[in-house]
Symmetry: C2
């Protein structure tokens, strides 16, 4: 947990949850579990593809209530089981840069999921979204980062707690 | 050396050189050495800043014959001494995405330096520039990737051989 967030560029969701580090890690890295909690209802996760290694790609396909699918591709950067997962939207498999797919709507960020055991067997959980500049951070905040990532975490706790 | 380049998206410089893997690695990772070979003459490297760890930033400042300086920032992704160095221009320190600084002139790529010992004590050297799309790769080729990276490698061999 040595990373110090930048309040101008980073969005942070920090909470202590009654789920063990092992189960938080499993929820974040197992496709069969990811599809059950990752996307806030009434949207859902249609599919999760995970190649869990630095340089491995992931594709998480979200589905709207109307049934439209939105695949989100990324790349894992740091994989430290039960401790730290870092991934980014600006690269794909083997760290290849991605072209912005959505033009001005594209929101490049790096995600950092920090997991720390608490004395009671739970987890001190910190999720950070890192952006290139202040406009990226404020746009992500306006898009509902805190509500969205918070609601997804509620679903993780309901599933794994 | 398990990475298989994509001929449409990657540019590759591959050569066997009479420099040991230890000295190739040193040339690529030691600021005092980098400034002596990294930029093809008559340009030069004014400064090299290196934080050699996954997520560590680098800034290499090139200088034109007229004395204008051009800093290039990046981030290390894989650091396997004497074997493999992977870095990218699309992130800075702690894997934070970077804003394109040069607009349409910006050339996002990930670099992959593969180092393999040869029986004679030299190195089989493979440098790969990975791009997001074909236009990035062809633009990098037109900018002189092969001549430029080749001339820099000549300078590395002259310095370290």
């Amino acid at each position: 947990m040595t990373y110090l967030p930048d309040p101008k560029l980073d969005l942070v969701l920090e909470r202590t949850i009654p789920v063990s580090p092992e189960r938080v890690w499993a929820a974040w890295t197992t496709p069969e579990l990811m599809v059950q909690w990752f996307t806030p209802s009434p949207w859902k996760t249609a599919k999760a593809e995970v190649d869990l290694r630095p340089g491995g790609a992931n594709v998480i396909t979200m589905e709207s209530p109307e049934g439209e699918q939105y695949p989100n591709a990324g790349c894992y950067l740091v994989v430290e089981p039960m401790r730290l997962l870092v991934f980014t939207s600006v690269m794909g498999a083997d760290f290849r840069p991605v072209s912005p797919v959505n033009g001005a709507d594209d929101l490049p960020f790096t995600g950092r999921i920090e997991i720390e055991p608490t004395p009671g067997g739970g987890t001190h959980y910190r999720a950070i979204a890192m952006h290139a500049d202040e406009s990226g951070a404020s746009r992500h905040a306006e898009m509902g980062f805190h509500d969205g990532w918070g609601a997804a975490l509620d679903q993780l706790v309901a599933l794994m707690g």
